[in-house]
């Protein structure tokens, strides 16, 4: 396939995207990722060639709209069960490092 345009991300770009995605990359990972992500985005650039004037975006397959359920209590409280896989909890709360000094 022939690409319309080559995308060339820098290591700084990758660092910025990684920050948005909250992934703490090591320095050594940046260069290979810049190459891989650029290649994928270059592939994706082929979309540019498509004429989509007046085309409605399709977010979801199928024709029916989402259902609404009755506004009644359907689930029982299972806090302890659902918190059981958490790394750190106390008194029903999830614990994280101090946010406010």
């Amino acid at each position: 396939m022939i690409a319309e345009k080559n995308v060339d991300l820098t290591e700084k770009d990758v660092k910025g995207i990684a920050h948005l995605a909250r992934i703490g990359l090591e320095e050594a990972a940046l260069a290979p990722l810049a190459k891989d992500l650029s290649n994928v985005l270059t592939l994706v650039e082929q979309l540019e060639a498509a004429n989509t004037d007046g085309v409605e975006p399709l977010a979801h397959p199928g024709h029916s709209s989402l259902r609404l359920r009755d506004d009644t209590v359907s689930e029982e409280n299972q806090r302890e069960t659902l918190q059981s896989p958490a790394p750190d909890t106390r008194d029903g709360y999830f614990l994280v490092p101090r946010v406010i000094e």
């Binding site: 995605a21 703490g24 990722l33 290649n39 994928v40 994706v44 498509a50 975006p57």
Partner: protein, 484 residues
Amino acid sequence: MHEKTLAEQSRLLASGEISSSELTNHYLERIERLDGDLNSLITVTGAAAKKAATAADEKRKAGDDSPLLGIPIVQKDIFCTKDVLTTCGSRMLENFVAPYDATVVSKLDTAGMVNLGKANMDEFAMGSSNENSYFGPVANPWNRKCVPGGSSGGSAALVAARLAPAATGTDTGGSIRQPAAFCGLTGIKPTYGRVSRYGMIAFASSLDQGGPLAHTAEDCAMLLQAMAGEDERDSTSSHEPVPDFSSSLQQPLTGLKIGVPEEYFSAGLDDAVASCVQSSLAEMEKLGATLKSVSLPNQSLCIPAYYVVAPAEASSNLSRFDGVRFGHRCENAQDIEDLYKRSRDEGFGSEVKRRIMIGTYALSAGYYDAYYLKAQKVRRLISDDFANAFADVDLVAGPTTPTPAFETGAKSDDPVSMYLNDLYTVSANLSGLPALSMPCGMVDGLPVGLQLLGNYFDEVRVLNAAYQFQQATDWHTLAPNGIE
């Protein structure tokens, strides 16, 4: 016993010739003896399986004649299983014991199936080779040097090696059909919404769909029967009535119109694969079907559109893995941002990070219109192409994959060449249509898959055509060497 199909085992159980305990012990022994080299299972639940088998045998004695009662199955490790490790192939969930069952799991449980364990898979279902699993790659039973496909690679390898008569899979861009093709199996991705996604760890929510992998269309019809149906816990599950998927299997193909897209037989398709597919289409014609050339003008845009939509949804879905509520947490976090960033860096493998970052980029300010919105518009064009085709034909047929299984390591350094494996499969996910892959030939000792796509909620017709093809051919009966 393991040379029988699931449907045959169902009949043997019904007639009392075998018991579920015998069948279950037989497969557990095979797993123990044969899975070492394959690495197709992450977790084996032997004790619970034996207990479930005994319970199934007791139910049968009490008069229960459910068709799947007492038949073993393996769940892809993307489905949450209560009190059982559910890893999704990731270090992130290495120690995650699910607190509840996925709807698919509880439905198959209710149908009386015996769960033998959890199948290996590409991490978070991202991959076409099963090389992206934190728990190691899976070998293809037909040729151990080759990949089994992905992301349901463990499911496909274990059914091909007769370690279970069937397994569940999920398909976001071909993850049931491509491994089914690579391992010589029949697998179906139902219409989007046919099977509940509750408890199925989300990759791309508008594309993900669960389905079965087994040896025959008849087996898949029986399994889909138990898996399908509206679920109040998944608002995207369809309220469309569930038909009897087995009722029309026997119907002859006389009058069936099969569309053959000209775009499927162009650059990128291996000649030997093309020739297998052409021969099977000729077989369909012999069985009474009419072939008609159709056009899918936007076919070449499927991969680019998919690799925007799927990563965009993935970046959103996988933001839940933050080291706070479940999953991997880094040691000695300095602050909350450090906690997020290091937990995610350590917990995710490289392909998952790539896709999250592509998605994050495509959704970020300034790029949203150019990438995400553009891809959604192209998605509409792709979907419309199929609507036009289905105005003239009942099914669309073509190759499942451009080549047979490739060697492990051959594409693992080049994401783009790996993505091109999905050339023929992603369109069914983008449009939401049902699609099946079944064995239709062999090339250099490796199976080749034929793909059949149906109109929305027309799995009955897809399964009927596949069943009739399998009555006339024996590709689906072949087994890898050393497995017989």
